[in-house]
């Protein structure tokens, strides 16, 4: 379970204003909102990469804003993350990128690692790309390698920032279906940020919408689709006329 209580984060201006949010264990939570609403910042606060000025973030029952970097490592070993810009290690091959989280969790059997990497690459339709460097991949291919790396350890909590950005409609639906299937198999708790709302809502259990640093909606997928909140209604249905 992920519990966020009254989190306040500012850079030059406030970015998260008293965000309170609960994601139950085993839930696939979709986080939507217009650009610069603070979705990526919230995800980084969940991972302990950014520290909020106020408020608390609880993961696995631990208040992570109080932990130091060394204790955070133990928590992060149970979390997978896909960054919005992928953040692939550019000096490592695709295979080494995907294997990196496994090696750091103490898996040293090369045959196990190679099998798992091949399995991940097949899942994102990139079989045979093991020895390529990230610099030589297209935007969508990098995104898929990022997805493969985030899922390689079958973490209990996975945070995806735009898993389908830059992908064609067919591939993005395949990615969403893949992530949903694996989330259900593993019973993982997942938070997924995406601008591809139509496809995102086909896989989510619950949905939250952010606007200007505040969480203005939190409910089930059906509630989101039927919401009468003018902003949520406009955003979910992609209407041009409305308050946004």
């Amino acid at each position: 379970m992920i519990e966020v209580t009254k989190v306040w984060k500012r850079f030059a201006a406030p970015v998260l204003c008293d965000v309170t949010l609960t994601v139950p264990t085993g839930c696939l939570y979709g986080l939507i909102g217009p650009g610069a609403a603070g979705k990526s910042v919230l995800l980084k606060c969940l991972a302990g990469l950014l520290r909020p000025e106020r408020g608390s973030v609880r993961l696995f029952g631990q208040a992570i804003e109080a932990l130091d970097e060394v204790s955070l490592q133990a928590v992060r070993n149970r979390v997978g993350m896909l960054f919005q810009n992928n953040a692939l290690f550019d000096h490592l091959t695709v295979a080494e990128n995907i294997a990196f989280p496994m090696r750091r969790r103490g898996i040293t059997d090369e045959s196990v690692i190679a099998a798992r990497v091949a399995d991940r690459l097949r899942a994102v339709s990139l079989a045979g790309f093991e020895q390529r460097l990230p610099g030589g991949l297209s935007g969508g291919q990098k995104k898929r390698v990022g997805v493969a790396r985030a899922t390689v350890t079958r973490a209990e909590v996975v945070l995806y920032d735009e898993p389908a950005a830059g992908l064609d409609p067919v591939t993005s639906q395949k990615i969403f279906d893949l992530l949903r299937r694996e989330q259900q198999e593993a019973g993982a708790t997942v938070v997924m940020v995406s601008s591809d709302i139509d496809r995102l809502l086909t896989v989510t259990d619950r949905v939250g919408m952010m606007l200007d640093g505040a969480l203005i909606f939190d409910g089930t997928t059906a509630e989101a689709k039927g919401s009468l909140h003018p902003v949520v209604k406009q955003f979910v249905h992609g209407e041009v006329d409305g308050p946004l």
């Binding site: 204003c17 980084k44 992060r76 960054f83 953040a87 750091r104």
Partner: protein, 266 residues
Amino acid sequence: MSAEPHAMERPQGPAEVAARRVLADARELQGVFLRTLYWTAKGRREPGEVARQCFEVGYRSAFFLSVTMGFIGMILVFQSGLQLLRVVPDLTLLGATFLELLVRDLGPTIAAMMLATRVGAGIAAEIGSMVVTEQVDALRMCGVDPVDHLVVPRFIASVVMTAALVMFSGLVSFAAGGATAWFVFDVQPLTYINFSLLDRGDLITGLLKCVAYGAAIPIVSGWCGLTTRGGSEGVGSATTSAVVNSSLAVIMLDLVLTGAGFVVFV
């Protein structure tokens, strides 16, 4: 966006802001320093990475450093020879004095200043660009302390290679000075090569300086790289401040160690 509570907006004078920033920087630098020592003692690492960094720091700087130190040796011997001739027209101790100065201070310090520009800039640029592309965040998500993964291999390589480079380039410098003394002042090599002024204190002070500089440059530059903000512009300023700060660190350590060496070895 809701208004921010007043409690957070206590007005601060510019002096207070500056003092807070210096304190925060000092705390961060200390953090990088302590974590580097901790992971050097405790971390497990692939030997390949340290070897690669040794090559990066050592081999690639050797030519640049030897040329610089060679010229400096020539200039110093020439200038001090001219000065000496005005006071006492006897240059028999020229080589011995120069050697003592070279071992005790100039060799390590000038070489380290040169290394600070070459090695420091490289470390800060490499780590800084990993910060702005979020690769450092990705490392942290894999349960890796970026200090362990990025700073420590460079730290070990730098400590080892700085000592080696200082000895090698010091030798070049002494030889180039000897050639100058011979050709300009007609001091015979056998007179020039004179170890009589060199004692244990000089050697220990010189060696300590090598180690201290070799440790300071990657730590200061790694700290500059890890605290990079913004985009490629941030990487640029991180690189600049790495060079400036590691040169400053070298000079300050020089002062401290010279003072300490003087007190201990009179």
